[in-house]
Symmetry: C2
Subunit: 206 residues, 2 copies
DNA sequence: TAGATTGTTAATCGATTAACAATC
DNA sequence: TAGATTGTTAATCGATTAACAATC
């Protein structure tokens, strides 16, 4: 039996469901419905039920979904029922902010290594991390078996850093540099570029 | 004649085309093809031609696209042939990094006002900005006719800040808080949540 | 001219929605 | 039981791809 292929667009919504469920839980709610969840997210209830049904039946007819249970199931599906070690490359203003961000751990990620190539920064402390020399990136990441990395270096360095991350065995890269990076097909990349989002908005503005 | 409705998914790709074209231009290239552009972005050449044809014919058969010309056309379409004034709310680590980011101006955006509600921060300097009291947010934004805002406040404050931005006449909001915010339908919202992207990757990892 | 690449049409493919039987 | 909401099927809708005439 082969794993049924779930469309990427469905997978992409699961973290949003999980985030909304976590928020509901923190509000003290115990149960929700596809309709309520959909209203929070601006997604139709039919779509939410369809998406979830790709992975199993998590609800009860007439009642809805137990929030804690569904959240746990989604965490397992998204593989954040564990904590992933993450490397951060680049400690400019943005890298510094990312390193100090407190929102990773309870959602499945923990920064365990921070790199830069600036001699003035190497050896210095960022929060609880000592900045490592990016020269040692491959060895260090490999020895720690880190599989996920975040790139917060300049546009011009992004591809070179990417190549070395791939060499070090990293399988997922979150790229903050405003550029498309090339990777082998077994490596997953996601991008964050605020200007892209701003431009998607201004298109619609008068 | 009514404006032909272009699908959001097409609009969403235009900033990526523009970004790649700008990079090609900085590499000294003059002309490109839908195939070359597609290879850089991991998008099929047919899709790029189809997307662009929604807005007009920008290329020449046999030759391809003049990079500078197509970039200019895309800037006009995305309304970044001008510079938009932007307000930033929240100057924690992330807000500070955003305020200092040098990549906005040449892509159509300029931060012109920065707010926080922490008395220790109000009046202080962040880069070239003086942090304003968030209490005066509505008046200040209205008087400057700012239409675009970025929210880098905590999850718990995001909705309240949003409501006041809407009251101030803001039409586009880029939200860095990991939460879905509610806005009237005439206001466009985009979200940046790094953990959502990380979770989209870990789903695919072993 | 010969070669290359666009813009566009038609065909395919995939995603969303509507509807409802099942059932809690 | 009556009411509510799921999970699923079929229908609709929309997006992507393939193919090629037009033409630079």
């Amino acid at each position: 039996m082969q794993k049924p292929k779930v469309p990427d667009i469905v997978v992409g919504r699961l973290p949003l469901y999980l985030r909304a469920l976590s928020q509901m839980k923190s509000e003290g709610k115990r149960v929700t419905s596809s309709q309520e969840l959909g209203e929070r997210l601006g997604i139709s209830s039919a779509q939410i039920r369809k998406d979830l049904s790709q992975f199993g039946g998590f609800g009860k007819q007439g009642t809805g979904y137990n929030i804690a249970y569904l959240a746990d199931q989604l965490k397992t599906i998204l593989k954040v029922d564990r904590v992933w070690d993450v490397a951060l490359i680049g400690v400019g203003d943005l890298g510094r902010a990312v390193a100090n961000y407190g929102g990773f751990l309870h959602r499945g990620f923990r920064i365990v290594a921070v790199f830069d190539n600036d001699p003035a920064k190497i050896g210095s402390r960022i929060g609880s991390f000592i900045v490592e020399d990016a020269t040692n990136l491959v060895t260090s990441i490999r020895s720690k078996a880190i599989k996920v990395a975040m790139i917060a270096v300049s546009q011009v360095d992004a591809q070179a850093v990417t190549d070395r991350l791939v060499e070090a065995g990293v399988l997922g890269i979150l790229c903050y540099a405003p550029i498309s990076i090339a990777v082998p097909s077994h490596v997953k990349v996601q991008y964050i570029d605020p200007v892209v989002h701003l431009q998607r908005m201004t298109y619609h503005l008068p």
